[in-house]
Amino acid sequence: MASNAASLASNSTPLATKAASFRRQHRIGRAVIYGSLFFMAAFYLMPLWVMITTSVKHLDEIYAGSFIGLPQQISFDAWRTAWSEACNGTACKGLKPYFINSLLLTIPAVIMSTGIGAINGYVITKWRFPGSNVIFGLLLFGCFLPFQAVILPMAQTLGILGLAGSLPGLVLVHTVYGIAFTTLFFRNYFVSIPDELVRAAKIDGAGFIRIFVSIMLPAALPIIVVSCIWQFTQIWNDYLFGASFTAGENAPITVALNNIVNVSMGRKEYNVDMAAAMIAALPTLFVYVVAGRYFVRGLTAGAVKG
């Protein structure tokens, strides 16, 4: 900063005045930058703030028209209702069973798709064979597949496999369409591990599996985290597959949330809606807060080529 001021001033005579005006300008510039950033931050936080405060307000207070303000009285009744009593059109069991469904389907799908992606990435980068690049290209398009183009055949296939409307069926679907992304993650990561390492291990007599287990996997910890977080977020937040391939009791949480919000009987319970939305959002928000760095890496992986 000081050197900038000096270099700016060096080609003119009134040294002190120029430096002072530069400093003043600089200070105004900084204020504008911080001001706009904080303004945008407020805008981005507003919906979360509104969701949380609404969810702990009493319904009368909400209808009296306190939208943005602090709750006069904090009550977690709405959370309790959303968790165990709210109706979604077919049943009034709250979000709890669907939250459990989402856990039961997300965890195996995350583990399987990440494992398969790791092996694929390993083969594509360290055991290249003629055509392996074409295979990678074919897999890659799966990252950008509009799922509407495969929903109908998938529904038919799940029916033939006897998995229609079931959680295992949904696990299968998420695993299959997760492979593209997880392979991309691991491929881009393994590319940066020197081939010499693998070659040396081969000379020492280590085989395909040995090298994967004792060299690649230990080095891959960060990308395993990235892949798990990405898959967890994607699968937990999925609505299209959940709505298309499950019904009633087997629905994931996003489908249940949408049904709860859209059921209207009597006075709309906005506090319950917001509590339900928060419950559905908490697992992914938690992951984001704990491992945000890895989440961002997953996000940008689709854009940064390996």
Partner: protein, 298 residues
């Protein structure tokens, strides 16, 4: 070496391919075969259940003569244009501001990005509440004293699509910001320093030097956001449920309701194929150039 263990060597040689084969098979079936399958249904007279006859392009003709589909295509156009422009612009602005050695950069970045961790259903639910004219933003401004203030876009057929834009921009700007920020961090600082010494102002430096250098980031952001725009489905269901009337119908919601609610499977499949072709037209050249570049780079 090859003499002593020819068999195990051969297995070792084939093992990588064997390991990759199931994934390849699954993707060939679940992506490419299924696409063909959908294409086939779109050429058949399927209504409630798939029927494998052949009626040529009849379903496409029906699709393009459905007013609802016209609404959907028009909405997609309006939505994508605004969504892309606003998200890219805001994301770039955020990234540039954050790149000025900001003290609380980490926190601000986390705030701009957290919506990306949420489900579109959650986002839609939250914004439906915020944009609700009776109790939301309109009411707050009215209570502050500006009683004639009206902000009921979500109930207006012509304006409801802009509500979807607002919520989608809120959700996705952080994503654009993250990519631009990564791009900015990759730019050599000495270029900027040199321009500063020459006396160029910061905005000028950004406009003429830095932003042009972000071309690859722009490409990524625009391609990935277009993909998000075309497939956006849950946000619309949660926020407007394609209403008022069918004012916020989009190709994705059209496909879903034609197939699962209106028993027009053939038309649904035809609309899915239209979506696929649109995405492919954007994504395939992008992937091709990315792969080619990375191979040239090696």
């Amino acid at each position: 070496m090859s003499r002593s263990t020819p068999l195990s060597n051969r297995i070792e040689n084939w093992l990588p391919r064997l390991v990759l084969a199931p994934s390849l098979l699954v993707v060939l079936v679940a992506v490419y075969l299924f696409i063909c399958w959908t294409g086939w249904i779109s050429l058949s007279s399927s209504m409630i259940v798939p029927k494998y006859d052949f009626v040529g392009l009849n379903q496409y003709v029906r699709l393009w003569s459905t007013p609802r589909w016209h609404t959907a295509v028009f909405n997609l156009f309006v939505f994508s244009t605004l969504f892309l422009a606003l998200t890219t612009g805001l994301g770039l602005l955020m990234a540039i501001l954050l790149d000025q050695k900001i003290r609380v950069e980490g926190t601000l970045r986390a705030i701009f990005l957290y919506p990306m961790a949420l489900s579109f259903i959650v986002t839609g639910t939250a914004w439906k509440w915020i944009l609700n004219p009776a109790l939301g933003v309109q009411k707050v401004v009215n209570d502050l004293g500006w009683t004639s203030f009206v902000f009921d876009w979500i109930a207006q057929p012509t304006f409801a699509i802009y509500c979807v834009v607002i919520a989608a921009v809120w959700q996705s700007t952080g994503f654009a910001m993250a990519i631009f920020l990564a791009g900015l961090r990759g730019i050599d600082n000495s270029v900027i320093k040199a321009a500063q010494i020459e006396g160029a102002s910061l905005p000028l430096i950004y406009r003429t030097i830095v932003v042009p250098m972000l071309r690859p980031a722009f490409l990524s952001v625009i391609v990935l956001l277009s993909y998000i725009a075309i497939k956006s489905f849950d946000l619309i269901l949660a926020l407007t449920n394609t209403g008022p009337g069918s004012a916020t119908e989009m190709p994705s919601t059209f496909m879903y309701s034609a197939t699962f609610r209106r028993d027009q499977m053939g038309v649904g499949a035809a609309s899915a194929m239209m979506m696929l072709m649109t995405v492919a037209a954007i994504i395939v050249p992008y992937l091709y150039s990315e792969l080619k570049e990375s191979r040239d780079g090696q």
